[in-house]
């Protein structure tokens, strides 16, 4: 009898369950698709001690399947600022991301990121009694626009526009000041030494491909080095790790020799491919250094764990060594083993300084302006943060 009454009471409570406050189901904005979101503001009467159960079913009809069960203190909107922003109420409100349902096997497929219209049901239980229930439906789809990354887009556009403007200025007036970097004088000295000793120069472009900025800078410096080498009638050896970099290096060497008026001295096989395996490349280059005993070694571009092995071997042959890399983890090894090291951006600056190309000079000037902006942001950000305001910090937040 008591059990029957309890069942009747529970059923009545369930039947009279109210809806969740501010409940909505929508496609997750700014993603690659596949996810819908159920969000709500709370339960009538407060969410203390409430447990939520989230279930999904195809909108076309079908069984409900439970996909999540969590306490009301979890899945707060504040965890997803990319979707809900930074409102204070987000600390009290809940949401739940759900995978959009896909067609059954054999049924016509959907484009990538799209899902079927998915029904989402959220039930709130307090002490085992359902106190609220809401349902909604949405279909997932990929989005072209990711609003949470709008700040990155704005910075990229501003920085890009500034760069183009400065490049245009450098084209009109190529006499752009770039401070002298000590390592550059050493380059000249190293090439001269190689000529006097009658030994070759070994020039490495690093282990990255042509899509890496440091490789582009390295190849650009190779162009200037090859001009000097051609005019001094010395020899530069360029063992390559990447076939595309090899092709570009050969072109650059050819241009360098031609620009120096010595196209006949250009030997295509002075730049050659070794292998695309890191340590066998090192073994081959180390062997080359021991056999050729170069007068100078240049390590420009991006390096990994092989940096110390290369520079130690080069050092043991008595060569003048000049490195330039933006690989932060390998810089210490080059600094310890080389005579001169171009640190990070100095590599790009060296490339611009030597080539005097408006494109590079404008980019370098643009980077300097970028640094001024960052310094200003740091100072301003520190001051604004001291007032307790968080809006400035949010300007630089890439929400997830």
């Amino acid at each position: 009898m008591i059990r029957a009454v309890a069942i009747v009471l529970l059923t009545a409570a369930a039947a009279s369950a109210q809806g969740l406050e501010g409940f909505e189901v929508f496609d997750r904005p700014g993603d690659a698709g596949g996810t819908v979101i159920a969000a709500w503001k709370g339960v009538p009467g407060g969410d203390a001690g409430v447990e939520y159960v989230v279930s999904v079913a195809p909108a076309a009809g079908g069984e409900w399947a439970e996909v999540a069960r969590f306490a009301s203190t979890l899945h707060r909107k504040v965890e997803a600022p990319a979707v809900f922003g930074y409102a204070e109420s987000n600390e009290r409100e809940n949401y739940c991301p759900v995978d959009g349902l896909l067609p059954a096997k054999g049924a016509p497929g959907l484009a990538k990121g799209h899902s079927l219209e998915t029904r989402v049901r959220v039930e709130a239980f307090r002490g085992g009694v359902r106190v609220a229930l809401s349902e909604g439906s949405a279909s997932a789809r990929p989005n072209w626009w990711a609003p949470q990354k709008a700040n990155v887009l704005v910075f990229a556009l501003l920085f890009g526009a500034g760069t183009f403007w400065l490049i245009a200025r450098a084209r009109r007036n190529p006499d752009v000041f770039v401070r002298r970097i000590p390592g550059l004088d050493a380059m000249e000295e190293a090439i001269g030494r190689a000529t006097e000793m009658g030994r070759p120069i070994v020039y490495l472009n690093g282990l990255n491909g042509m899509d890496s900025i440091s490789t582009i800078a390295s190849v650009s410096i190779l162009g200037q080095v090859s001009r000097r080498v051609a005019s001094y009638d010395s020899q530069v050896l360029v063992p390559c790790y990447d076939p595309v970099v090899l092709s570009v290096s050969q072109e650059v060497l050819r241009e360098g020799y031609t620009a120096a008026g010595r196209p006949d001295k250009f030997r295509e096989h002075d730049a050659w491919f070794i292998t695309q395996e890191q340590f066998s490349y090192v073994a081959a280059v180390d062997g080359l250094m021991l056999r050729e005993r170069p007068a100078a070694c240049f390590y420009m571009g991006y390096y990994y764990a092989e940096s110390l092995l290369l520079a130690e071997t080069g050092g043991s042959t008595g060569a003048i060594q000049i490195a330039g890399t933006d690989s932060v983890t390998q810089l210490p090894f080059f600094i310890a083993t080389c005579d001169y090291t171009l640190i990070g951006e100095e590599l790009y600056a060296a490339s611009a300084y030597l080539s005097r190309e408006p494109l590079q000079l404008g980019s370098l000037r643009s980077q300097d302006f970028g640094k001024i902006v960052i310094v200003a942001v740091l100072v301003l950000g520190g001051l604004v943060a001291m007032t307790g305001a968080v809006w400035f910090k949010h300007l630089f937040t890439v929400a997830s």
């Binding site: 700040n151 395996e277 081959a284 062997g287 021991l290």
Partner: protein, 288 residues
């Protein structure tokens, strides 16, 4: 078979280590073998993992859009035009594509991780103002109560007391200006000064004179401290790799592997000594 594997492993390891003596025939064998094997491996990898998996299987499959794969194949094939000087210029289209998509991928990612997020993380209050709100005071009170309770607990578990004290100190450092708050502010200021001065070091559009020179000097000091720490950290990692190799050599010294390490080592030393004597004789002959 295991013994053969051990002898090959020991032999090649010692061949590569013989580089520490000087360039010698053993190192040359190791070097050429290493380069040859990796090139062979990559050719096979490219054939099966790229050509068969990503091109051939797609083209011979049933997907209605399978012929789209021919576009990247064509772009890749343009690189081969370098072998024909008259149409070698076409390879630049492929290079342009590679560099274009590389930059397109790299710029937003670099801007996000290296500029926007870093700027956000560095822009902290240089001096923290205590949070005088009732909420913060209440949180500190609660944390203090929890700490007192933990101290009075019968079990007197150190770990629990430490955790409760940590929470209390953290909470107090928000509502009041404590030693912990001062320490945090000090750290923030050090990071701020470091970033500020390092940025000055990397200014190329102005001559480093006067205050700019002073800032850049401090900047390079910060960089060198970082490089020193990074160097030590990596050297420790490399030493552990060496330990691993030496332990393998020690393992392979046992009878079950046919004393691979000592036997190969003695043979190598004997051959190197013989070569040394032979070359010395030659050098003296040349000198005479």
């Amino acid at each position: 078979m295991e013994i053969v594997g051990a002898w090959i492993a020991v032999g090649l390891t010692l061949f590569m280590f013989s580089f520490l003596y000087k360039d010698n025939p053993f190192y040359k064998v190791g070097e050429n073998l290493y380069v040859g094997i990796t090139i062979g491996y990559f050719v096979i990898q490219l054939w099966y993992k790229t050509w068969i998996d990503k091109v051939w299987d797609v083209l011979t499959g049933q997907a209605h859009d399978r012929f789209v794969i021919l576009i990247p194949v064509l772009i890749g094939a343009l690189l081969l035009t370098r072998f024909v000087p008259k149409i070698a210029w076409m390879s630049r289209w492929a290079f342009a594509f590679v560099i274009g998509y590389g930059a397109g991928l790299a710029i937003p990612a670099t801007l996000t991780t290296s500029v926007v997020i870093q700027a956000q993380a560095t822009a902290k209050p240089l001096v923290t103002m205590p949070d005088r709100s009732p909420g913060a005071a209440k949180a500190t009170e609660n944390a203090k109560a929890a700490y007192d309770k933990a101290k009075e607990g019968a079990a007197k578990e150190d770990e629990k007391i430490r955790a409760a004290r940590y929470r209390y100190e953290q909470s107090r450092s928000v509502s009041e200006y404590t030693f912990l708050t001062a320490y945090r502010d000090f750290t923030t200021i050090v990071i701020f000064v470091g970033v500020f001065c390092v940025l000055f070091y990397f200014f190329f559009s102005i001559e480093h004179r006067g205050p700019v020179r002073a800032f850049s000097r401090v900047g390079i000091l910060f960089l060198m401290i970082y490089f020193g720490a990074s160097y030590g950290n990596t050297v420790m990692g490399r030493l552990s790799l060496l330990y691993g190799r030496v332990l393998d050599l020690k393992d392979y010294s046992r009878q079950m592997y046919g004393f691979a390490t000592p036997v190969i080592l003695v043979l190598m030393i004997a051959v190197l000594a013989a070569l040394h004597v032979k070359n010395k004789g030659k050098d003296e002959g040349h000198a005479a």
